[in-house]
């Protein structure tokens, strides 16, 4: 059974889309990430124009992150104050990302920039996660205790001016790195069609030293707001949000996420991080291979939106 996507302007099998949503939702529920970094390339592979894929995935991310945020809010794990400070940077970053998206598309370099950003971000984060979780697994295998790092002094960037206390996260740090992290996540999210959860969570844990669960909960809240803003901005500036595509994806995604979360809870944390690291690395490598291997056709045709 096929369904015609009114904005992407092509027919797609509805079950393929649902299965895609469920599969990506399962992974995102299992690892506590948005899954946009998987969803966007898969949609492009199905023939959805990249601009429509990036914009429509943000609806799916808004839905699944809202569902997650509600759960964490009930358990009182969201650091709303930290979230709001991250957001001041995040929203500016999202707007900058959408504008950059528009400019790059005009100059024909959007695909390249998206690909290079994917390779760099996924390659770096993936390698770091794999290395870190392998070390943890090795320690466990040797029977050593994990050495919890508790350095007395904060690194230099947390000692910058404009300090602020975030009670829920039990930290007292400068707002400058917090806003900068927010900006970077918002920018990358709008440009790459990713929620940035898999970048934000490690950033909060390792850079700002926020407790793990609070990091995940706050990252989800941030994803919710930046993705809702991304929907609006893409709809107004680019007119590339396909509501039908988004609806099918989010229905599949929210169902898949529930089963994924259950599967994730049954697995030790280090192994989970290793798996996610490998997955992130694999996606990054796939994009890299596409960019490096000699293309079958040296020419590509794009439609000038301005002429429409």
């Amino acid at each position: 059974m096929t369904i015609y996507l009114p904005i992407a302007e092509l027919p797609v099998n509805i079950f393929t889309l649902l299965a895609l949503g469920i599969a990506v939702g399962f992974i995102s529920g299992m690892f506590g990430v948005g899954g946009g970094f998987l969803m966007t390339p898969l949609l492009i592979f199905l023939g959805v124009p990249p601009a429509v894929a990036v914009a429509s995935v943000s609806t799916h991310m808004a839905a699944s992150s809202f569902s997650g945020t509600l759960t964490y809010l009930r358990r009182g794990l969201v650091d709303v104050r930290l979230g709001l400070v991250l957001l001041t940077g995040g929203l500016t970053g999202t707007l900058a990302g959408v504008v950059a998206f528009m400019l790059l598309r005009r100059y024909g370099q959007l695909d390249l920039v998206i690909a290079v950003t994917y390779i760099v971000m996924l390659g770096t984060i993936g390698s770091l996660m794999v290395a870190e979780s392998l070390r943890a697994l090795l320690r466990e295998w040797r029977g050593e205790k994990a050495n919890v790092k508790r350095p007395g002094a904060h690194p230099w960037f947390l000692r910058m001016p404009f300090k602020m206390r975030f009670r829920q996260s039990r930290i007292y740090v400068s707002v400058i790195p917090v806003v900068t992290i927010g900006f970077a996540i918002g920018f990358l999210g709008a440009l790459m069609g990713i929620g940035g959860g898999f970048i934000l969570v490690p950033a909060l844990i390792y850079l700002l030293r926020v407790p793990t669960l609070t990091s995940i909960a706050t990252a989800l809240m941030l994803t919710l707001v930046t993705m809702t803003a991304a929907i609006l901005m893409h709809a107004v500036l680019n007119q590339t949000v396909d509501a039908v595509l988004g609806l099918v994806l989010m229905v599949g995604g929210t169902i898949g996420a529930q089963f994924g979360a259950r599967a994730g809870q049954a697995m030790p944390a280090e192994r989970l991080r290793l798996l996610l690291g490998l997955l992130v690395l694999a996606v990054g490598l796939r994009v890299a291979v596409d960019q490096i291997v000699t293309p079958a056709d040296f020419y590509a045709v794009s439609i000038d939106e301005a002429a429409r």
Binding site: T2, S65, S67, A300
Partner: protein, 259 residues
């Protein structure tokens, strides 16, 4: 078969009318439907073109008639990019703009165009993909270039791979000496908008008659509402989509709540 009944009836009528008048190379054309509507289960459609050549001009073994049908979709501007290797990556290096090129282009002929007329006439009448005008902007100049131009060839190649440009050298068949038929496939990815069907008949290597019909590909009902809202009321559309996402998230949270 039912949808073909109406046009067939029309031909019978046309034949009867044309019968009395032997002079004048009149061409009567009809499409099985003039409007392709896109609904949520649209995966493509097929339109059948019927044509009647005035009996005086009917094909005989001594004087064969040739028919060339060209279907052009709504014009759009395209950019063709050439990739080059830069620091190990393939980068869009050079580009050409194709201004107002048809977004869909199909050419159906009764036999290979080279057999129908001289190359010069074929070019004049824009027969075939290679002879169709494709206006390019090169710097500040506007021109169509030679068919061997690599950008032009690449453009045709990419559009053919997308299934939006094609040539069918035996796509027009005569079902009677003066009645012909062509089947026009409209793929699921066909662009929305007005299409033009141009028919030219040739005999002895010269143009005998020409005719044109309009065809429209349009989204209707829900698809149209969604597309026009996204265009005309982007704020409303964005808000509605965002609210929909939040509602789905909320429902999922309630449905799977475990505490």
């Amino acid at each position: 078969m039912r949808r073909l009944a109406a046009p067939l009836l029309l031909f019978a009528l046309a034949l009867a009318l044309a019968g009395g008048d032997a002079r004048g190379a009149e061409l009567v054309l009809s499409l099985s439907k003039a409007r392709v509507t896109i609904t949520s289960n649209f995966t493509g459609d097929t339109i059948v073109l019927f044509g009647v050549i005035a009996p005086g001009e009917a094909a005989t073994p001594a004087r064969p008639q040739d028919v060339i049908v060209t279907v052009r979709g709504p014009s759009e501007s395209f950019t063709t990019w050439r990739k080059e290797r830069f620091l190990g990556l393939w980068v869009n290096a050079d580009s050409r703009s194709f201004l107002a090129a048809p977004s869909y282009l199909a050419v159906f002929t009764s036999r290979a165009p080279a057999l129908i007329a001289e190359a010069e006439i074929l070019r004049q009448e824009q027969v075939g993909l290679d002879n169709n005008h494709l206006l390019q902007r090169i710097g500040s100049d506007y021109a169509d270039v030679v068919p061997q131009d690599p950008f032009r060839q690449a453009f045709l190649r990419v559009k053919q791979a997308q299934g939006l440009y094609f040539e069918r050298p035996a796509g027009v068949e005569f079902i009677a000496p003066n009645v012909f038929r062509a089947t026009i496939p409209i793929p699921g990815t066909a662009p929305i908008g007005p299409y033009e069907v141009v028919v030219k008949t040739f005999a002895d290597g010269a143009l005998v008659s020409r005719g044109a019909l309009d065809l429209e590909v349009a989204k209707i009902d829900f698809e149209q509402t969604v597309a026009t809202t996204a265009q005309d009321h982007p704020w409303l559309y964005g808000l509605a989509t965002a609210l929909m996402a939040l509602a789905v998230g909320f429902i999922a949270n309630l449905a799977f709540r475990r505490d």
